[in-house]
């Protein structure tokens, strides 16, 4: 079985592309890139902690998230800031997560807290998807993970469960080439990641992860199938992590420069979609710059909002662990409060 790479930009299919959608995707992608650049600076200044950048993966993040309704479930991993923005999580909440506060969530948004252990969240996506269908809702679940996650047992268990129960879930794998320092070829002997769908009896698709319109199209089709009760899909978005794994990582230790330069020069998702908008006369260079300026202003507002949030208090570490605080936690909290100024 063949797993062709679906592309739209630069093919004859882009003649029929929806320019309004392309504009919306581009503007969210430039927001994500601005956020990324700013967050790395903030980390270098010591204003936030370790940060996982999205550089190079903007088309995958934004194109996929735009395929959801707000009533659908988003089940993210730790590099999915862009998808969370699209789904409605405010920028400052993502920054607060990087500042060591609670997970990037908003009570108004149907997303689970960012999962840190690899592939564990895929099972939660299957569970919320089963619940949705059982409760008579037509909402689907979209979960995010990387190429390294396909080596974990929970990846296997989640696809297997989803296949057996025909759960309305989309497994969105961003194959960015690297799991920290280990290249994709060392994760699996499979030629593609999409082909793993076959073993679980679910749909699979492979898409150019740097082509926002292609990602949007492929994920939208998967969402439609899930909503119609036709079961789960594994989507492999072939993209590239143009930055480090996190701000604690130095990719020059393991990654060939020519590989990185090739992606950066020829396949940058923003250049690809921006070029399309220019070519179609939807935007001028000046307009693209204006959008970038507006994005930076939004990021600044997010930084201001995050930094205005008061310092944490001891109680915040205790009060949500259990719905009702057990007496032993009460005593532990009191002991810490007694020695904490302004507790």
């Amino acid at each position: 079985m063949d797993w062709p790479l679906v592309q739209v930009l630069g093919t004859k299919r882009d003649k029929k592309a929806d320019v309004e959608l392309a504009t919306a995707l581009y503007r969210d992608m430039i927001l994500l890139r601005s956020f990324d650049e700013r967050a790395i600076n903030l980390q270098r200044q010591g204003r936030i902690g370790t940060f996982a950048p999205s550089l190079g993966q903007e088309a995958s993040e934004i194109g996929s998230a735009h395929a959801l309704r707000r009533s659908d479930w988003m089940v993210p991993s730790y590099r999915d800031h862009g998808a969370l923005f699209v789904h409605g999580v405010p920028l400052e909440n993502v920054l607060l997560f990087a500042m060591g506060r609670a997970a990037s969530l908003s009570s108004a948004v149907k997303a689970l807290p960012t999962a840190i252990p690899i592939a564990t969240q895929l099972l939660h996506a299957v569970g919320v998807a089963i619940a949705s269908r059982r409760l008579g809702q037509e909402d689907v679940a979209l979960t995010y993970f990387g190429d390294g996650a396909t080596s974990e047992g929970d990846f296997h268990e989640a696809l297997n469960f989803a296949g057996v129960y025909k759960a309305p879930v989309i497994f969105f794998c961003q194959n960015n080439g690297w799991a920290i320092s280990v290249p994709r070829a060392h994760q699996t002997a499979s030629e593609t990641l999409a082909q793993k769908a076959l073993a679980y009896g679910v749909e699979g698709a492979r898409v150019d992860g740097n082509d926002a319109l292609a990602v949007h199209q492929v994920v939208s089709e998967a969402v439609a199938r899930a909503r119609a009760g036709e079961g789960p899909t594994l989507v492999e978005a072939v993209t590239y992590r143009m930055g480090p794994h996190t701000t604690s990582d130095d990719p020059s230790r393991y990654r060939p420069d020519d590989e990185y330069l090739d992606w950066k020069t020829h396949r940058d998702p923003l250049l690809k979609l921006g070029g399309f908008l220019l070519e179609r006369g939807v935007a001028s260079e000046a307009l693209l710059n204006t959008w970038a300026e507006e994005a930076r202003a939004r990021v600044q507002a997010g930084v201001d909002a995050a930094e205005a949030v008061p310092m944490v208090r001891p109680r915040g570490m205790f009060e949500h662990v259990y719905d009702e605080m057990p007496s032993v936690l009460h005593e532990e909290l009191q002991a810490i409060e007694e020695v904490t100024p302004d507790a």
Partner: protein
Amino acid sequence: MPEMNLIQAVTSTLDAMLASDERVVVLGEDVGKNGGVFRATDGLFDKYGGDRVMDTPLAESGIIGTSIGMAIGGLRPIAEIQFMGFLYPGLDQLISHAGRMAARSSGQVRVPLVVRVPFGGGIRAPEQHADSAEAYLVHTPGLKVVVPSTPYDAKGLLYAALQDPDPVVFMEPIRLYRMGRQEVPPDAYVVPIGSARVAREGTDVTVVTWGNMVALAEKTAEALKGEVSVEILDLRSLFPLDREAIWRSVNKTGRALVLQEAPLTAGLAGEISALIQDGAFWSLQAPVARVAGPDVPYPPYAWEDMYLPTPERLQAAIRRTLED
């Protein structure tokens, strides 16, 4: 009032829960058509169908991880893991997610999940089928852990677990499943999580224990009758612990022995011993004693009777606390 054994209390309670709340889903390996390897879900599949009593693929992380999602999504999953020795693939989901979801989401996401897990030895089961792994769970913040030793408590604690907004591991003592019968009220009732039970009143020494070991303690206390007056505290909840009940009893008797089936080192008995120093130190007339399984893997069953605490070991340990 109907009389039933512990496993019948579990089955009839699950039945009532499925009947009264559409959100309740029972899932696990062989829980459907087969009614579970111990028959705890016997008849429920025929009554409620495969959508409510779900036979799952054979994968414990999958069962618990999917149940976490189902709970977040608005269902009330009651998952079964066949034996505690098979829980380990699911520990990552319990430790990394079920236990910390509420804390790391600032209370925005709660996981009202019940995991039922038969545990303990004494039934000549194959290897890996007899573990008592409660220490891992009690050491995991965000989880609650309960263990009934009577049919009455099985029903009341199962209702408490289902109604709890937080994840609860419901440990079922295999050896006691069919050991004794008791009257169990037909209507729903709750045994509050965090409350211990004085299983036997006494004045000389307190035996603090839970699960299968409650029966052993009762047998031993009966054998010592006339010589030593033994009070038995059946904890019922391993987290949160009923510290007041422990302190009340030990302050009364002045002597304490903690009895567990699990290996000694870093087991729950150590934690309880430390708690006794916290709240009953000035009443103690002897060092707090521990009787536990040895620090060896639960053995193949030819050694089982040597591994498990026996009435003889318990009697000797109780007498030692009285010598001081």
